[in-house]
């Protein structure tokens, strides 16, 4: 019992201290209207629960301490029940539940996913095991890392290309499932810039654990610069450069079967790579986008991400270096 109480105290300290960078996926440090609503509801429920917990466990402990059997004591009075008590402890929890149910219903309707006029629309499509984002009004796409402007309402419409996934970025909002043939919606307005972590929350097969994502909340101007870059044609390597060699190898390798680079390849199985060099992470936000990770990923993706569809590539030495240099140049 003292253990449980100590743990509850620990939870309280976690509630207050779980802010900043230590817990990038915490539900206790909301940074949007959506997640703030959920958090305040959770706090309501939490304190009611703590109250009930303390009352019940106290009664239990008092009973245990007071009514220990004593040698030679008379048989206790056989009390069979007490009607007033029964009515009392039926009504008391019912009353508490009213105080929880009312804000619950209010929050259900407030967070039903209807975004205000002028919200930025984003379509999220789940794939085993990566994320595709389309911005229909901006005519751009992004992969695994979602960029949104701060202070602007975002209307997210989600669906899946295969099995059920769940889009979850705790600091920006609650999770919602991505289901093939259906469209689910959430809406949120991020209130501060930064990089927020998320990951798939519905079990979706071998690499469920590796289906991660980032949301990068930016100032309007920074966001606009990012949009412009995504709209631009992919970088063209300089004549005779290592990047140009890489582009040629890419063109005649299996890469083009699955990936799109505008003007170079039109594969649709994996994420588009037209601006892959501008991303902070690769492989479903699993690894930092570094020369080393790209090397390892291209050589043997399934060993890093079980079940990944990209087969190990037969590229070595200078060829591999060239392809990696080319991909990195696609800012």
């Amino acid at each position: 019992m003292p253990l449980v109480l100590a743990a509850v105290l620990l939870l309280l300290s976690a509630c207050s201290g779980a802010g900043a960078g230590h817990f990038p996926q915490s539900t206790l440090a909301p940074r949007s209207d959506f997640s703030a609503d959920l958090h305040s509801l959770y706090k309501d429920v939490f304190w009611w629960a703590v109250g009930v917990f303390v009352i019940v466990e106290t009664l239990l402990l008092v009973a245990i301490a007071r009514f220990r059997a004593r040698a030679g004591a008379a048989t206790p009075k056989p009390i069979h029940g007490h009607t007033v008590l029964e009515i009392g402890w039926t009504l008391a929890p019912a009353l508490i539940l009213v105080f929880i149910a009312v804000p619950t219903m209010r929050t259900i309707f407030a967070t039903a996913g209807t975004a205000p006029e002028g919200a930025l629309r984003v379509q999220v499509i789940g794939h085993q095991w990566w994320w595709e984002y389309r911005y229909p009004t901006l005519n751009i796409s992004a992969y695994n890392e979602l960029h949104v402007p701060v202070g602007t309402p975002i209307a997210i419409e989600m669906t899946s290309a295969d099995v059920i996934h769940s889009f979850w970025v705790p600091r920006l909002g609650g999770k919602r499932d991505l289901i093939q043939g259906r469209t689910n919606r959430i809406a949120f307005k991020a209130d501060s810039t930064g990089e927020y972590w998320g990951q798939c929350a519905e079990f979706c097969g071998a690499s469920h654990a590796n289906m991660r994502l980032r949301v990068i909340v930016q100032d309007d101007t920074v966001f606009q610069r990012w949009v412009d870059r995504q709209r631009a044609a992919p970088a063209t390597p300089a004549k005779g450069s290592q990047e140009e060699t890489g582009q040629q190898i890419f063109r005649r390798s299996a890469c083009i079967g699955c990936h799109t680079i505008t003007g170079i390849a039109q594969g649709k199985v994996g994420p588009e790579l037209s601006h892959v060099g501008s991303r902070g992470t690769i492989a479903g936000a699993l690894f930092p986008n570094t020369t080393e990770s790209l090397h390892r990923w291209i050589m043997n993706a399934p060993s890093l991400k079980p079940g990944a569809l990209m087969p190990p590539q037969n590229l070595q030495g200078a060829d591999l270096d060239a392809v990696v240099a080319y991909l990195q140049s696609l800012k």
Binding site: L3, W168, A201, A209, P306
Partner: protein
């Protein structure tokens, strides 16, 4: 040996259920320990592969729900219910034997998947079920799960469902029809009452999962599209069907434990159960409400605000009858003479721990709050406080309470108390930190997590706790087997219990009661202000008692089912037909078997 294979004695079948389920409980526990070992380190853990991990957590859930907790309750239904109602056996003894054999064979079939890999041209540890115990569509479709893994799961569950349904009908008929004279419904011991309610849930909930599994089987075997969106099917349909079964299933798991606690607390407080009728009716209310809450498992699937509100409301309502039960248990303790036997400690532990699972459940009932918690470790904490802190602690209370009756031998109280404290410390170390892991963003069912999440320490504590639970269970296992080497003989009524099972020897003779007692009140063995204890039963039966002989046919019939499943999973129609023939011939011979043997 033969007498055990052909037995139709409810007491022997109870013991068979107990040992079989206990071994499956150890297997499920071993799976849990490997899962926790893997999660002791972030970013790859101890090197358990994603594929292996997914099989382990799927089989851990499936095993604990269907092969350990339900049949451990069934062990008590079998052994104790006929004794509590003053009957010589269950209503259908051979059907009872059939239930056991089907359960055993279904459990073996589903676990055979761990070693069956080579038969399918795959590695060992690659064809066990791996789509979660909830098997969400469309991950379970042929397209996304081409191997035999999901087939093992769905065929195994079909077999187990037959065992549960047969037992469900058997116990309803037994409790309603086989009561001793004077054993009116409102004189039934609370464990019998909770069992009756549980069996009504079984016979209404299992048909739903059966239908769902048949549809899934059609999708996988015959190319239909019930759950396949490209073909016009709907994966959400599976979720509705599964949880329409799955939520009543939660009450199928917890109500028997509540019944056990309602027996143990009065005995060791030397006071009648406080508010007996209210406790009974609140059980009935829980069962009814249990049917109206299934979509609270689906708040993140986008049902819309109206449905979310309705299911949030009905779910919250369940907290009321549950709270009423807890207050009545505390009312039972109040003013009593409490004896802290191991059984009593586990019953008190049940109240103390179950309340935590109940309260975290309210944060799931609040739909928007649940959007942050569902599919995270917070839910893992919640279900383990309910199913471990509730069901398993309740079952342990029942094991210490009834073991002397079942075997005639007392368990060691010293080892029992060691078991209790190790279990309590272990479970809180294992499951309490999971609340934090979940709130800090750790999803469930992941074979590894990023060190960047900041949840490594919480996971390490959970792992230590899981190992402590494992140690505690070994202490209990030793306590059980020790009663064989160092027997301490149990008297008829070692705990001074009030109900009929304590009126007869431990272990009871094959005919249970020398004469069928006439019951005049709820506490026939106690002296209260209203009545004296009932007269002791004669030591020898006044007239010879007919006891039905054994039969091979229940077991033979049961063997037909896994044969059919083996035929289905290997896509060999003749084997399916042979299995079906075994079932048909078995039932035919069973039906015409001479009654006297």
């Amino acid at each position: 040996m033969k007498s055990w294979l052909t037995t139709t004695d409810h007491k022997r079948i109870g013991l068979l259920y107990f040992w079989t389920a206990f071994i499956f409980f150890l297997v499920g526990g071993l799976e849990a320990v490997i899962i926790r070992a893997q999660l002791i380190k972030p970013d790859g853990g101890l090197g358990v592969s994603a594929e292996t991990f997914n099989q382990l957590f799927t089989m851990h859930g499936t095993t604990m729900v269907f092969l350990a907790l339900m049949p451990l309750s069934a062990a008590f239904f079998n052994f104790i219910i006929p004794l509590q109602i003053g009957a010589r056996d269950v209503a259908f003894p051979r059907l009872n034997a059939f239930s056991y054999w089907v359960f055993l064979l279904g459990g073996l079939f589903i676990n055979a998947s761990f070693i069956a890999g080579p038969l399918f041209g795959a590695d060992r540890l690659s064809v066990a079920p791996d789509a979660g115990w909830f098997g969400y569509a469309n991950l379970t479709s042929r397209q996304f799960s081409p191997g035999p893994n999901v087939d093992f799961w769905l065929l195994g569950l079909q077999i187990l469902g037959i065992a549960s349904l047969a037992a469900g009908f058997n116990f309803i008929v037994t409790i309603l029809n086989m009561r001793a004279p004077g054993m009116r419904m409102l004189r039934l011991p609370p464990f019998t009452w909770m069992t009756l309610i549980t069996q009504f849930l079984v016979i209404t909930a299992f048909p739903v999962i059966t239908v769902a599994l048949v549809l899934l089987m059609f999708d996988r075997f015959f190319g239909t599209h019930f759950f396949v969106p490209q073909g016009g099917g709907d994966p959400i349909l599976w979720q509705h069907l599964f949880w329409m079964f799955g939520h009543p299933e939660v009450y199928i798991l917890i109500l028997p434990a509540m019944g056990i606690v309602s027996e143990v607390l009065p005995t060791f407080s030397r006071k009648p159960l406080f508010g007996y009728t209210v406790v009974v009716y609140s059980g009935v209310v829980i069962a009814f409400l249990g049917w109206s809450v299934w979509s609270h498992h689906m708040f993140s699937s986008g049902l819309g605000p109206i449905a979310d509100s309705v299911f949030a409301g009905t779910t919250m309502l369940i907290a009321i009858p549950t709270g009423v039960k807890i207050f009545n248990w505390i009312g039972t303790l109040w003013g009593g003479q409490l004896r802290f036997t191991t059984s009593m400690l586990f019953a008190l532990g049940f109240i103390a721990m179950f309340i935590i699972g109940g309260l975290s459940g309210v944060s799931h009932a609040s739909a928007p709050s649940d959007l942050q918690q569902t599919d995270t470790y917070y839910v893992v904490a919640h279900i383990h406080y309910v199913l471990f802190g509730g069901t398993i602690l309740g079952l342990f209370a029942g094991m210490y309470y009834w073991w002397p009756k079942m075997t005639g031998r007392m368990l060691s109280e010293g080892l029992g108390k060691t078991h209790f404290w190790l279990t309590m410390i272990g479970m809180n170390l294992a499951f309490f930190p999971m609340h934090f892991s979940g709130l800090l963003g750790m999803p469930r069912r992941i074979y590894t997590y990023s060190s960047g999440l900041g949840v490594t320490t919480f996971n390490q504590v959970s792992t230590v706790g899981a190992f402590l639970i494992g140690l505690a269970t070994l202490v209990f296992f030793y306590n059980l087997v020790r009663t064989r080497w160092r027997p301490i003989t149990a008297s008829n009524n070692p705990w001074e219990g009030a109900t009929l099972e304590w009126a007869i020897p431990s272990p009871p003779p094959v005919y249970n009661f020398t004469i069928i007692p006439t019951v005049a009140n709820r506490l026939p063995l106690w002296h209260t202000e209203r009545h004296a204890p009932m007269d002791p039963l004669p030591l020898q039966p006044p007239a010879p008692i007919h006891v039905p002989g054994g039969s091979w046919w229940p077991m033979i019939t049961a063997f037909g089912l896994p044969i059919m499943a083996i035929g289905a999973i290997s896509r060999t129609l003749p084997v399916v037909l042979i299995g079906a023939l075994v079932v048909i011939v078995g039932i035919y011979r069973w039906a015409f078997e001479p009654f006297e043997m």
